[in-house]
């Protein structure tokens, strides 16, 4: 069982890395290049909902290590902060409302992911304000959050098969 879980986590991590690489290739809003689809977070949320929180934090940490290795310290820190905070927020919501909808979880995760990263940039780079970008951050977090919720609900039963047998 233990080997199996390890293999599943490795598979999911690989999936998350590939997705985060792919989405890194698109620039959605040239005026605010930090904005991404957040596809790899579908994998993290899947892990959180079907495995456990330890594995979800683990995959998030692996994503951050990958960003650190390929794009430097700041990219690694940004990835880690966004990942850890969004998972924590989702856990808090689940604690109070066990049957929270996919959309609610996904949107909250996306919003806090954005806020965490912009706050970190603000701290590290001497007070660059995120206020002008706040409308775009909220809107993109909401729209992509819904999109990822739809995708997650669609792939969840299929992805689950990788460790059910």
């Amino acid at each position: 069982m233990k080997t199996k879980k390890l293999t599943v986590i490795a598979l999911l991590s690989a999936l998350a890395l590939v997705l985060s690489f792919i989405e890194g290739q698109f620039i959605i809003f040239p005026a605010c290049p930090g904005i991404k689809l957040g596809l790899s977070n579908i994998v993290v949320m899947f892990t959180l909902l079907t495995l456990d929180k330890k594995s979800a934090y683990g995959i998030s940490a692996i994503k951050a290590l990958f960003a650190l290795a390929t794009r430097g310290v700041m990219a690694g820190l940004l990835s880690l902060s966004g990942g850890v905070i969004s998972i924590t927020v989702i856990l808090i919501i689940l604690f109070f409302k066990k049957d929270a909808s996919f959309s609610a979880l996904s949107i909250s995760g996306a919003l806090f992911h954005n806020l965490a990263q912009f706050t970190l940039i603000r701290i590290v780079y001497g007070g660059a304000s995120f206020l002008p970008y706040l409308p775009l951050l909220i809107a993109s977090g909401t729209v992509f959050g819904i999109m990822n919720a739809i995708l997650l609900k669609a792939v969840l039963p299929h992805l689950k098969k990788i460790y059910e047998k």
């Binding site: 780079y125 660059a128 002008p132 909401t142 739809i150």
Partner: protein, 118 residues
């Protein structure tokens, strides 16, 4: 327990968020900036009058240009070129960052804005 894709409450939450984003978009001041600041490693390296033309080459190879109305990254050694893709900045509060080179270009207004509070 079957988790739902969306609930009534979630839908209200979504509408609230999108409304907030829209209202914020129109509420936020969009004033032309006056100063272009270049920050390296979290410290102010140089600032320029946004109404002047300038071109500056930093030690890390980054070139930043101002054309009298706006400023933008021209060249950078980083891989992603996010800083260059951000394009021209002219409004107070806008910024572009090259994270690998720890360089930020910020536009500020003459009057004290939300930036200077903290």
């Amino acid at each position: 327990m079957e988790r739902k894709l969306i609930t009534k409450k979630a839908l209200i939450f979504i509408i609230f968020l999108l409304l907030t984003a829209t209202i914020l978009y129109f509420l936020l001041p969009k004033s032309q900036g006056d100063i272009a600041e270049i920050w390296v490693d979290g410290k102010l390296y140089k600032s320029f009058d946004l109404n002047d033309s300038f071109e500056v080459t930093l030690k890390n190879g980054i070139i930043i240009k101002g054309d009298g109305k706006s400023a933008h990254f021209v060249e950078s050694s980083c891989r992603d070129k996010i800083c260059i893709n951000t394009g021209s900045l002219s409004l107070s509060g806008q910024w572009a960052a090259c994270l690998p080179n720890s360089t930020v270009l910020k536009i500020k207004g003459e009057e004290a804005n939300a930036d200077t509070v903290s």
